[in-house]
Amino acid sequence: MRSSWRLLGILAISLGSGLPRPQPIHAQNNPNPVTITGRVTNEAGAPLPLASVYIETLGVGAQTAEDGRYTLTVPAARVHGQQVSLGVRAIGFRNTSSLITLTGTSLTKDFTLAANPLRLGEVVVTGSGTSTTVEKLGNTINSVKAEEVTKSNESNIVNALAAKAPGVEVTSQAGDPGAGSSIIIRGLKTIEGDGQPLFVIDGQPIDNSSLKTGDFADASTAISNRAADINPNDIESIEILKGAAASAIYGARAAQGVVLITTKSGRAGATRYSFRSSSGWDDVNKSIPLQRSYGRGQNGSAAAAACPSPGCYPTSSSWGPKLAGGTATYDHWDEAFETGHTFDNVLSVSGGDDRRTFFASLGNTLQNGTIVGDHDKYNRTTARLKATQFFGSKLRVGGNISYMDVRTRYVQKGNNLNGLLLGLARTPPDFNNFPYVVDGLHRSYRYPNPDPADPLADRVYDNPFWVINRDKNTSDVNRAIGNFDVSWDPMSWLNLKYTFGADYSSDQRVEGLPPQSAGDALLGQLWQGTYDNLQIDHNLVATAEKKWSSALNTTFTLGQNLNSRDLRQVLSKGTNYIDPDIFTLNNTVNSNLQAQNYQQLVRVAGYFAQAGIDLWDQLYLTAAVRADQSSTFPKEDRTNYYPKASLAWNVIGSNARPSMGPLSYLKLRGAYGAVGREPAPYQIYDAFSYAAVGLDYGGGSTSPTQNGSGGVVSNLVKGTPTLKPERTGEAELGFDFGLFKQRIDGTFTYYDAKTTDVIFSLPIPVSTGYQNVVSNGGEITNKGLEVSLNARAIESQDIRWEIGVTWARNKNKLVELQGADYVGLTGGFGNSVAVKGQPLGSFYGTDWVRCRYEIADADNVQETTLGSSTDVNALCRSANAPNHALFVDANGFPITDPANRVLGDPNPDWMSGIRNNFTFFRKFQVSSLVDVKQGGVNWNGTRLALQRFGTSNYTAGRADCSAGLSKCVGNEQEFGVTMEKSPGVVGPGKGKKVAVGENWWRAGLGNNFNGPTGQGVESSSYVKLREISVAYTWENRRIRDMIGFNSVDFRVSGRNLHTWSDYTGIDPETNLEGAYGIGRGQDYFNNPQTRSFILTITLNH
């Protein structure tokens, strides 16, 4: 019985709820309250903030401040000379206690805590209202502490998780303020979803969608992922549930794992104030390399650059002669970027007593990004209040409400005529992009001499400064997340927990292009949208625990979860502005031309049961099942079951066997679980469409409704009434160990996950009348290893050095696709797809003609010159050439293979994070984080396009083609050897050296417009200095008295300071698509990443 109380007590403390066990009030015999003060430090003497100091038997407690000091007051009524145990608990340290005698006098008691790197005995939240202690876990849960989240100063919590846990891949879309980021845990397990895990805050699932604005197929701005609305400074800890066994309790929503976020709580004790202010300087970390030696022209001559009369269009490319010395050239990149600033201020107040606690915070993040001017901005204001109240000793009621106001202004990017870099990077070096407006007319490098008689002439690409200064792309989010929770212990062995909460956001979007913008926005184009997103969650859990003997303890949990998600979108488009600068629908002549409504409502009812058996305090068996019903399942098959079981055996480190030689701890664990992903709603129905559809290359549109008569057409995708949820079964095996009294610790996990019934749109021949039919036929496997090692290398009084390494590899494979060769992925340029037998997201498209022994010989017969065909594989065999040897034609050039081939895999082979922490003389802390991604490719479409335009630095060493494109001289290259390096070369042109210049890059196949996609695939491996910081804690009693703060922390940190990579474009961590799709590694005029220097000052009272 006692142990169950202890467990609940531990639980309550860890949840920040104070202690629910006030003792019966004894006869008063002491008039004075007792104040206990002291300081909690680690073994090296460094102060430990956020440690809980408590007297369990009296139900009183306090929390240490940043300087490790605490003050705990025992009310006079409870003091009667008794001896009590004063305990201390801090995350990452072993619990310690000391006996004290309470008399009328105040006490001082300092504690030095021993490190507990394996967190043994600590409570860990396991989701849906359940929790356990670390040693009992049979599956992997990675914890990320508050300090690690805030140290990075990332405003998006997803970015703050980069390189913090093995097997967790974070990709920031771009460095734009508010840019979305993707997080993929243990590999992709879906084709049509977004691959993102479920986010849960304080027991309540929240929205982390990334919804595009307007009709831009590739998303014109780096739109945010909604979890970024959360203030990272409110977070106390994050648990990442990685495998199916860990996340099975979330059933049909947990296939990609779960990120459990616990926010900070107040603690009993003196009210504490903290003010944290940081100021950051951000700049672009890597630019697109551009040449400055050759000016505008074509055919090696400047003639085509002449554009004397208004309305003329000079050549688009920079294939003119070498610029004469003294010719003015412009650094187009440098002109468009500047140093950005980020200001982050957070004020928090927390406190409480033995019956109630509270935590309140107010935060603001103001970021002005790296694009010149203040047009890329992010302004997030958050407020949170979290409070708990005890009624009697058995009932605790809590409330937690947060409000977020997030205003973002974006600059258009990517594969988009109105994007910033598309026009910028194509501009010839001798063209001045200023002025971008002449007499009210938009001037672009393609249209440098605007004709006043034709104000709406095509600009082809927008001038980058027009993009920056004149467009308006905003997202204004108002969001509230709140919940009400109750914990009740009706019996000594029974606990009931209830949480009811809501997450509501309203997002007002504008995507406006003023008149004279390129593309179909010549008259001006405006998208205005309102997105309303409401999620309601109800979770009820009953937990019974009984200790039958010293060898047997059991727990049993029953739960119910009801969840409803409601999304409503209204989008309207107007064109033809009345006033060029007002971005509202009624300022457009053609208002409300395309109204799009989208609504979806999903309801889930889940029931779960979990049983745990603890044997001899060393063997822990857990088994559970969740039954999920969802409105998106077909009615006939509404209930799906997700079981799990795990076993943890503390071989060494238990009471029975405390250690064996240097081995101080060893836990063996194994787990199996099943999770799912519910189908998106309405896919079980056939439907007709009345939406206008973009049909033409580049985006013209046709509406089914014509001439005032309503029209509909069939959907391209046929519904499937029998659609089932996707299902992932995953087994994991591993061990955790400690050496030399935990001086060194580590974990090792192997997992094998198989996802079946993967939902995707199966391509069917278009001659059936449909492009696709929704299908359950995919199968994906993810197998991987995760290793982490930590060592406290130096632990002396003055110097401490901790080093931690994580390493993970994941092998992803799309095993089955129901007969299809490949299907497209949600989002993407279209060349990162799902190919059967390949990792998800593999690049697929045209390539050079090569030896391809892996395909049937008949499929490798190529048309080489007019009317003649070559059996390439036969040629390769006779030449004994290696597979993928490059075919070179008689002229010495490679040629395009018209069939689509697998071009490369964007998934990394392995990832690693290396963390170092030094503490000097208790006051100085130096820490660093290195992020390594090895293997994987990006598609550098930016470089390919710029090769066509002759602005890429890659074309700087070019042949002289002034005598004509067939008579180029210089820059002699051997294809397959010095260019397009290949495992071998075959064909009549083998060994031939050819001049490479405009003849190849512009007029030939050396670009993505004429040539194959495959030439842009290159390694995206990198080593990145993610974080480095130096901190100093200043404590001075006199100053403290003067300014009223106990301590002041100073921190200087750098983020993304350097990236080591062979990638030839911007930072290889980039993606045209953000977190809204799973197309990956696509680089097409993406906005760049940033690096930052940050100064932070924290005042603690």
């Binding site: 269009y313 004709d451 009740w488 009706p490 559809v693 001439n707 008569s709 492009q771 069939a899 417009f1009």
Partner: protein
């Protein structure tokens, strides 16, 4: 505090346990058990309107632009279109998806199924089917037809000749159905406003067109085409044109292309120079000068980039509400002239030609015969059918005009099947195994004047 709170709480908890989840009502409702965003069934009228809008795209959209480039009536002067201009087309670029899916065969068959009792409506829907499937078969040759838009997930390819024969049969049914009468689609017919007589004439002209396609394999087709032209479109006011307006979503596809990808396509040098050479009065009706061209209409040759001087469509042709001609009186007349020539009625052929020439403001030709006569007929047809895919059919059949292709290449005689079909249909051979020419276009050795045909390859 008081016992009531926990009691109330447990009561709520237990009640909610049973109330919500156990009931099917929780999962049923307006936005749960039906799609709130899209209708699940369609009325024939709505489906017919939607079909027509998308069919106009199939007829005058991307494919139409590609063929205008290849026939050098227009020219690709930027980005992807510069590549297409030099015949760089892969199986990813142009596909026949739009002919079958969403607004294609699936929807016109859906209309046919629903209007069976209204014979006029049915006949019009059948004529529509013949029009779009003819273009599809002309472009890709053998296509899925008999097994298309059925439950068969791997429709077989029907030979191009068989498809054409089937379309002739379909048009015969269509004409007979139209003549049987009915209410018809009336104003929902965006082409003829439901006018039966116009539709019957258009169906005959279409039959004539299809017979011409079959002539290389079946010499008797010329006589059959000639017969059909007698009942075909009888005046320019009976032309089959697309419906367009300046409303977004209804705009002419060439206009939409221009405002989106303005300088990627310009006037074709061959056609511009030809019309200048004949001082054709329609030149300014077709094109307007580029802004840097000093009032001159200048065309681009294959491979030439946009320089601001090349002409674009005239204000009329380039406007959002320009109704693109698809099947015209001019075509009917010139088919008639050629068919007369082919059936050895040269005098009638010349008379028909001259009647046409007079009607468009060109001087009549005197004393033409033999090769010169057929060349004159085909030249006038090439000019008359500006921006019409039929020009490519004539070119493959007659090698007129004898176009010089971009250097080192030849003008393709068919398109490879698109990935959207090939990837899922095992009946489609890989690109390298596909024929270079369609069944109805066996290799043409010579141009009409007996010289080598420049643009055609193997």
């Amino acid at each position: 505090m008081r016992i009531r709170i926990p009691a109330a709480f447990s009561a709520i908890a237990v009640a909610s346990m049973f109330a919500a989840g156990c009931s099917d009502n929780y999962f049923e409702g307006p936005r749960l058990s039906s799609n709130p965003n899209q209708p699940s069934s369609a009325k024939p009228d709505n489906q017919f309107v939607g079909f027509q809008a998308f069919a106009f795209y199939s007829l005058t959209g991307d494919l139409n632009r590609l063929i205008s480039l290849w026939m050098q009536q227009m020219a690709g002067t930027g980005r992807q279109w510069a590549g297409y201009d030099q015949y760089v087309v892969t199986e990813n670029d142009f596909t026949f998806g739009s002919f079958y899916t969403q607004g294609g065969l699936v929807d016109i068959r859906g209309v046919q199924d629903k209007v069976k009792d209204d014979k006029l409506y049915l006949g019009i829907a059948q004529a529509w089917e013949a029009l779009i499937m003819d273009l599809c078969s002309d472009t890709w040759g053998d296509i899925p037809y008999t097994e298309a838009v059925t439950d068969n997930r791997t429709p077989k390819l029907d030979k191009q000749l068989a498809v054409h024969q089937a379309l002739i049969t379909l048009l015969d049914q269509a004409i007979s159905n139209m003549n049987a009468g009915g209410t018809g689609p009336a104003a929902l017919d965006l082409v003829y406003g439901g006018d039966k007589a116009s539709w019957v004439k258009a169906a005959h002209s279409l039959k004539a067109r299809i017979y011409m396609h079959m002539a290389e394999l079946d010499g008797s087709s010329y006589a059959k085409a000639l017969t059909e032209t007698s009942s075909g479109i009888s005046s320019p006011s009976g032309d089959f044109t697309t419906y367009q307006s300046s409303t977004t979503g209804e705009a002419n596809h060439w206009y939409q292309f221009r405002i989106q990808r303005g300088t990627d396509i310009s006037a074709g040098k061959y056609l511009v120079d030809l019309m200048k050479g004949t001082t054709d009065p329609r030149l300014p009706d077709y094109f307007s000068p580029g802004s840097g061209a000093g009032g001159q209409i200048i065309g681009a040759s294959p491979g030439q980039e946009f320089d601001g001087k090349q002409a674009w469509l005239s204000a009329v042709r380039g406007s959002p509400d320009f109704r693109q001609p698809v099947l015209t009186f001019a075509e009917n007349q010139l088919i008639r002239a050629e068919a007369q020539y082919r059936t050895n009625a040269e005098a009638s052929a010349l008379a028909t030609l001259n009647a046409y020439r007079t009607s468009v403001g060109l001087a009549p030709k005197a004393g033409l015969a033999g090769a010169a006569l057929i060349q004159a007929i085909m030249q006038d047809k090439y000019v008359a059918l500006f921006q019409n895919t039929e020009v490519w059919n004539d070119y493959r059949r007659t090698c007129y005009p004898n176009l010089s292709p971009a250097a080192g290449t030849f003008i393709p005689a068919r398109l490879v099947y698109g990935t959207d079909e090939r990837r899922a249909n095992p009946n489609i051979p890989s690109p390298s195994q596909q024929p270079k020419r369609n069944q109805l276009d066996p290799a043409t050795a010579n141009a009409l004047d007996g010289t080598r045909c420049l643009g055609t390859g193997s």
